[in-house]
Symmetry: C2
Subunit: 236 residues, 2 copies
Amino acid sequence: MAPNVKSDGRTTRWENHRATRRAEFVQAAVRAIDTLGPDASVADIAAEAGVSKPVLYRYFADKSELHAAVGAWGTDLVLERVIAAVLVPASARDRVTAGVEAYLTTIAEHPQAFLLLTRQHAGGDPLAAGKDLIATKLSRMLGDALRLLGGDTGAAEPWAHAVVGLGSSVGQWWLERRTMSRAAAAGYLGEFIWHALSGAAAEHGVDLSALDPEVGNVRPLRTERTERAGSKDAEQ
Amino acid sequence: MAPNVKSDGRTTRWENHRATRRAEFVQAAVRAIDTLGPDASVADIAAEAGVSKPVLYRYFADKSELHAAVGAWGTDLVLERVIAAVLVPASARDRVTAGVEAYLTTIAEHPQAFLLLTRQHAGGDPLAAGKDLIATKLSRMLGDALRLLGGDTGAAEPWAHAVVGLGSSVGQWWLERRTMSRAAAAGYLGEFIWHALSGAAAEHGVDLSALDPEVGNVRPLRTERTERAGSKDAEQ
DNA sequence: ACTAGATGTGACCATCGGTAACGTCTAACT
DNA sequence: AGTTAGACGTTACCGATGGTCACATCTAGT
């Protein structure tokens, strides 16, 4: 018999199911967006998932919440890849470029879905889009780094938003007009970010490139896989 | 009889009027957006202008074209202010910060309208939003500067988009959560941009701060106000 | 057997971008 | 003079889309 004799086993029966179902719908949304573009309608997404609209609306309050879920999925994917790339043992600057390259590689896999992330959240909607999610996490990382280095932690937030906006804008540009190879774009972009960060660090008497091979204590970037349930990569 | 020659004084009579009327509608759109937010409907804008929808649609093919017009207006305004601020005689770095401060000041005057500029253009719509306009102009400026300095002109486009995206993202963040003063935000942002550009320049053997007081030939920035002239496709 | 809670659908509503049809005014042409 | 071109303006309507309702069904726990 069931071990959990809460008030009703009939209520708790679904709790597990609902999470997996919701994840399925997010994947369906990603597929629909990949094929139909970021303006895919809710009906399109429902059709892709093989259900009708009201079913979707039982899992997501409105369209923006669905978009936010897609954004969270994309955020996790991008962060995962970028962090993995940055952790490789190399010079600090090369690691920045590697991170940028991983970023471009990832968004190139889902170009349409990525465009959703760059969209600002619609007016009046309190739910934050993917960009804000990444900016918040990055802001925390930068803040920790600045604190360790004895820098001005006030810079963390604006710089985090700067890097995110920069990445989103250049990413979109690169996806739409592929006027240069991924490696070239990553090189230019990495150069830009590296100089911005290392220059600022140098101004405060810290030499970032000093910590090249030995990744000691000055690394606040923990792997920090978001403990969101589910393997997002199982797809297609 | 009716001559087949176009003796159209009747045709040319309106050409001047239409331009001013269109500008009026753009201003009405800005007012409506300022009060109702960036999602103001076409009907709202028409009401603000004191006309009905079909009148608007005689001047703008669709909503995105109206938005593009608002974007062009904002672009001109921002560029005008920033360029004026950058032209002040001071150290190169101070001028960067002054430009950033002018930028923040300008967008703070029309926060809602500014959000329109940050929105990406809708899917399938070939019309570029304000961000792309600025990015294109900035790209040309950077390209000229890089050519003069003997740098790699390939960096112009990605860097231009980087700066624009960075500005748009940080601008939006600063407008929404005013967690720091304008001067502070401008300081951090200016620091970031300055190090990115000067660091890259230094890598190519150019010292940007060398050209501090005398602003000589390294100035491809023309004032270039586009909207007044009417035809904004004067150059590509 | 009964119930809770999820599953599912087709029909429906409200909003909004965009258009059609219709009519008026006025300066320029004949 | 009368005619004409081209703008002015409105009401009413269409179509797509986000979002909801009412109603029916299935299944596991009580």
